[in-house]
Amino acid sequence: MRVIIDDLDRNAAAAVESRFDYAVAADGRYAPCQGCFGCWTKHPAECFMKDSLSQVCRIIGQADELVIVTKNLYGSYSADVKNVMDRAIGSSTPFSTYRDRQMHHTLRYGRHALRKVIVYGDITDAEKDTFRFTAERNAVNDGYDRSEVLFISDISELEDVL
């Protein structure tokens, strides 16, 4: 299954999202994670907050290929995209294991093939380094076999790199 998370303008997003099996619109119309661990310990793979992200971990967890389109924010995902990621930790379990010689959570849905991050917006070299490093860590954390980070200077280039 190919899944996309994007913070694109809703008008621009439609054409891009139609190329995927499932699209998560990072439009900011949801609450931030409360850090309660309820999606691990109370209602597994489900968030107690009943908004558009309450079961998003079940979608992201089953992605063979995950594409994230995000505006740069200090070398991090935009707040709206990061909000989606924070609310999706139920795709793992509370149990721990070692991956890449560091402690991580075991994966509820098993390993994935490709995690691709496409970053747009003004970005410095230091922020690019941070983004590459973060995406690499995310790929290990979420059990991806391959990780790619691409930087585009203008959103019109998006079609070429999807």
Binding site: Y22, P32, C33, Q34, G35, C36, F37, G38, W40, T41, K42, H43, P44, A45, E46, S52, S54, Q55, R58, I59, G61, Q62, L73, Y74, G75, S76, Y77, S78, A79, D80, K82, N83, M85, D86, A88, I89, T93, P94, F95, S96, T97, Y98, Q102, M103, H104, R108, Y109, T124, A126, E127, D129, T130, F133, T134, R137, N138, N141
Partner: protein, 250 residues
Amino acid sequence: MKTVFINCSPRKNFCASAYFLFLQRLFTRGKKVTERLHTQADVQRILPQLKDAEAAVFCLPLYVDGVPSHVLRFMEQLESYSKENGLHLKIYCIANNGFIEGKQNEPLMQVFENFCTRSGNEWCGGVGIGGGVMLNVTRIVFMVQAAQFVIYSLINLFNTGDPFPLSLVKSFAENTLFILFLNLGCLFYLVRMGHHISRRTSADKRYTRIMVPSFIFIVFADIFFLIVSVINGGVFRGWFAKKQPNNKNE
């Protein structure tokens, strides 16, 4: 010489960030103000506090290898506010994560450094703490033990006239020293950073962890989540199940 300490944890009670913030306050001199960042109302209260401050200490948990989304939103607002008001704050950061390796906080630290470059504030470093949840548990265990010590002392006082028999003091001291040992790394680096915050100098980035071997920590972390999941009922609701979405549009 005002320092604003910002607890960025979304959790209301007994969060690890509050524990580390409490310790950092203890080791910092000068005028101190503590704020909690959770809602937009908090943002409107915190920004004016920063106007006449020299330093800000962010204390936050690591979420998915990075800064939690509600903190990123605040940072965007703080960037605008800093530029409008000509702020040149010295920014320090205490990040904690549930995994044992404090080094896993490195991406978060880099984001704060990049934020400072963009916003005109000064990045002064931070402490990344591994095993933050478990260290917070040791804090709670210590509080329970201290309460027990007081209760047993009172009982002994009424029964024997001696409130502090040697066995009671020895047992309490042993347990306290053990908890102190587990916290040694984070105490050392928070004392060190407190020195830098007080002097307004750069502390650079340092990483530490709970003082137990990783293979033991991982067992205790699993036991911890097992107990919490039994209490909360998650174990009986498809704890490891590959659950399907109820509704594709959800």
